[in-house]
Assembly symmetry: C2
Homo-oligomer: 495 residues x 2
Amino acid sequence: MTANNAFTALMAHMHEAVALSQISGLLGWDQETTMARGSANQRAEWQSALQATLHAKRTDPKVGEWLAAIDPADLEPVEAANIRVISREFERQSRVPTDLAREIARVTSAAQGEWAEARAAGDFAAFQGTLAKVVDLRRQEAAALADGGDLYDALLGEYEPGMRAAELDQLFAGLRRGLVDLRERIGESRVEIPDLKGKFSQDQQMLIARELADAFGYDWKRGRLDLAVHPFSSGSGDDVRITTRVAEQDPFNCFYSTIHEVGHAVYEQNIAPRHGLTVLGTGASMGIHESQSRIFENQLGRSRAFTGFLFRRMQAVFGDFGMADAETFYQMVNKLRRGYIRTEADEVQYNLHVLLRYDLERSLMDGSLDVADLQDAWNQRFEQDFGFAVDSVQNGVLQDVHWPVGLIGYFPTYTLGNIYAGELYAALRADQPDLDTDLAKGDTTHAVAWLKQKIHVHGGAFEPIELIQNAVGHAPSEAPLLSYITQKFSDIYQL
Amino acid sequence: MTANNAFTALMAHMHEAVALSQISGLLGWDQETTMARGSANQRAEWQSALQATLHAKRTDPKVGEWLAAIDPADLEPVEAANIRVISREFERQSRVPTDLAREIARVTSAAQGEWAEARAAGDFAAFQGTLAKVVDLRRQEAAALADGGDLYDALLGEYEPGMRAAELDQLFAGLRRGLVDLRERIGESRVEIPDLKGKFSQDQQMLIARELADAFGYDWKRGRLDLAVHPFSSGSGDDVRITTRVAEQDPFNCFYSTIHEVGHAVYEQNIAPRHGLTVLGTGASMGIHESQSRIFENQLGRSRAFTGFLFRRMQAVFGDFGMADAETFYQMVNKLRRGYIRTEADEVQYNLHVLLRYDLERSLMDGSLDVADLQDAWNQRFEQDFGFAVDSVQNGVLQDVHWPVGLIGYFPTYTLGNIYAGELYAALRADQPDLDTDLAKGDTTHAVAWLKQKIHVHGGAFEPIELIQNAVGHAPSEAPLLSYITQKFSDIYQL
């Protein structure tokens, strides 16, 4: 076997694996948007068969032989990047014993239902045993992956390759202090911001949602927009689908969910075709992905300039909807509210939700916190950072599905995404002084083209940190995000 | 390896293969109903990766080892039926050289596009070379499969296990004579049947289509109805989806396409759960499948009794739509028209279309007809059986996609389905003397329950002929179908 033959055979093998993995994504989309409820058990069997096939392909001993026969030094950069990602995944998958992987799949699959029941019943104790089991299994998996290194880093690496918790601690510490301080000062502000009133029909909301997807560069020829209970984006390359939801009294939920998912989707749609059906043909990491959805949604979509455009579109579609002027509209879109739920939080408080989860899951993994004490630890930390007490376990430790399904090491990528978005936005503004003029017209063409060139086209060809460094010229820090949020909300709340 | 272990391992292996094959079906459904046009190339890559994976699973040498270790005599009947079907497929797939299978996939995939172009241009000569190549490749495949036996039988066996062309010839000869004779006599009838006039909105047509699906026992909890260019049913077990189409001036196209597809779908939905995700968990053959769609559509759906119900439903939804009474409505639904297109043909002429194709493809396979002479042979035969000349190649030899995509041996299963439906309908009427009373109320419960018990629940556990024999008590003949059609249309046309 020559190195050349090995590389060709490995790429053909991975082409099939990537295709099967994308098919699994479509099955997930179909399940959330289209499938009849009575098909659920059969669908679970399909996914299980597909995952087993995929696992066998990814851990095929031939992959190890091909990798051993290839010298990365002989490869072009993109070829070498393929080998880097394939090797990393092959090692990860090979390190976890098959029995453990199967046990994790089994327990987390059942845990999701148990969590939903415990949540409905408002009973953390009923779920505590299962959650302890999930944490224990993930610790075992982390030990297998870490090979003597840090357990948390081993899990984090699945979602954010190359990132370590020690680096996160540094990025997050100043951010938490700054955001708590800002939240407290806003709480003392005398500025009164009205709330939106009235009802907004589904058809009209969806009309505007489609215009927003257009405005942010979504390519309808290679995707579609549907309704789902929880908005998501799904797919890669030439088939990237988005979903949103509609509540009659809260059109912003629909609009900003759409823009957020379009951020994820346009990233995937813009990846260079040469990466299609290779392991590089998707976003570089969860953090980079979230940076795109968040910069679309917040820095661009919730800017004064863009909300001016949205205000006029809403007037055109809904007539007078009780909003005095564009400035009031802008304030209302960004208004801070007391709330328990991460996914509904404003830009100031969102990352406080994430950092709470990050610190707690770190403690679960290093053994300093027991699942039995998790609810108390959550409630105590929440009051500390948000200034009021959790009123129910549904609004507290049982609100997210992540831990029940075994996602530990995933939460910090949300805030990392915001930090990356902060860096990218500062660089974008420096490169495009007329950005606001475009946004005021609902035109994101130049901004999205900049993101496409700096981030999107590369897919997974660079490590996340490298990608950001190449884009902005330095290692990422939390400072631009904190400074952007502080300025924006100091202005709105006249601090 | 014990026989027991071998059986268990083989069933687990096939469970995955069946799941992957069902997933491929869902990808097809999505492509026809949901997918954006720009996703087509990526979808082709997905299907190709899935088919390659599936082929590798089905021809895995382990399957041969497991089969060799199992003695069917030790098995329960359903276990033995599983082994019978698995062995048959394993042998078929193993006999065809991989290079030939790949070449057939490549040529037929490209041929579909070339056929569509030649058809649009009305130019058979432009497609003749490709079609000759397809026929030649399928002859090579048949030779590999036949192992010295009849070439046509080798292909036919893929769609109708156990059936042979010599048997078809016997069943079809009398049918053709009888139908041509009937068509000629109807042509001389003085009975004048009016046509439907007016426009019927999509929403109202779909309302009735859903009621018809209900009336024929379609289970919405495990399926859905969508629009597609060509109506089809897709899936097995707990996820069986149907599609229909709507033309404003021809609501019967929508209604009877729906009933036809519901026939296919209810068959799949009614298969015993124990066959789920095994090779027996789908219809026994193409002929048996078509028997269910056709008995739903014609013997039940186009009966005087059921059209009486449909007439009242249409009056309720559309108001007075210019139809004098239920009897005129019944005649109109069954009216004979001059037409070139198989899929639009009435019960009298439909099988003449199929038999024409059957005889021509038999001659192509045995070498007595050259592709270069196919158009002339088609036109000559058409005029002979239908009494008028083909006016264009789109209405002639280029009308169906079957031959371009390599489907040779498939056409006769349409008529075989009608013959089976004729047998089943005669037995059903004998068992249920009050059938018309039910149908007049739009109630098919007892009829469908009878078909469920005789045919549906068994899935692929019996060979097609065995299934029909068990249901009706004798080997199938064309006589009941011919007698049903002759009686029905002699009555309508007062012959």
